[in-house]
Symmetry: C2
Amino acid sequence: MTSLLDLVLIDLYECDRESLMDTDRIREGMLEAAKIMGAEVVGDSFHTFEPWGVSGTVTIAESHLAVHTWPEYDFAAVTFETCGQHMDHKKAFNYLIGFFSSRRPRITQQKRGFIESADNTVLPYKQVVG
Amino acid sequence: MTSLLDLVLIDLYECDRESLMDTDRIREGMLEAAKIMGAEVVGDSFHTFEPWGVSGTVTIAESHLAVHTWPEYDFAAVTFETCGQHMDHKKAFNYLIGFFSSRRPRITQQKRGFIESADNTVLPYKQVVG
């Protein structure tokens, strides 16, 4: 069996509160994380909430990244979902741990989308067309 | 301890292949799933790939939804990540099982973002401001 997707859950506790509130900066940070990971960004969507907090998604050729922040709990939840064998998750989440100044990061990794594969062939990279 | 986020992984195997290729229809289906769930949509980003396949994210006031399709494997990976106590995940994923005509859906649910809570207070709903 081969899995199509890697799912990395990055729960960032005890962050710097200020870093969880600036939507433009968080968008830049997530786009930078995608770049550091080696992903190809194809779109993004970021929003600011009241009383505070930011939600955003970055669609990449290899799947997506997401972030949701709770300044009231000094907490950010980051998700990486990627396909392909060339994504450097560790480099990207280490960047984000620093970006949010998290003093207690908790990271879990899992796989999903299991398919039968006779020969462990490397799955083809997909090109964006629209 | 209270958890801030529910994560629902919906792996849809043995889908109708045609249903995995039409980006506009898939976008409509994901927006409908968000509506059925009871979520407030604040943005979306959908893309078409070569040789085929669709990736998309829907940002909601309560977090995000994502979909990634592999027509070559008759497979779609759908993710619901939500906060709040009022999301009807089951109704939404049952809709998508029908939408993609999946004959072998595999669904797992987990929680993330654990915070200490003295009184299990219902967390406030966040209003979109930007």
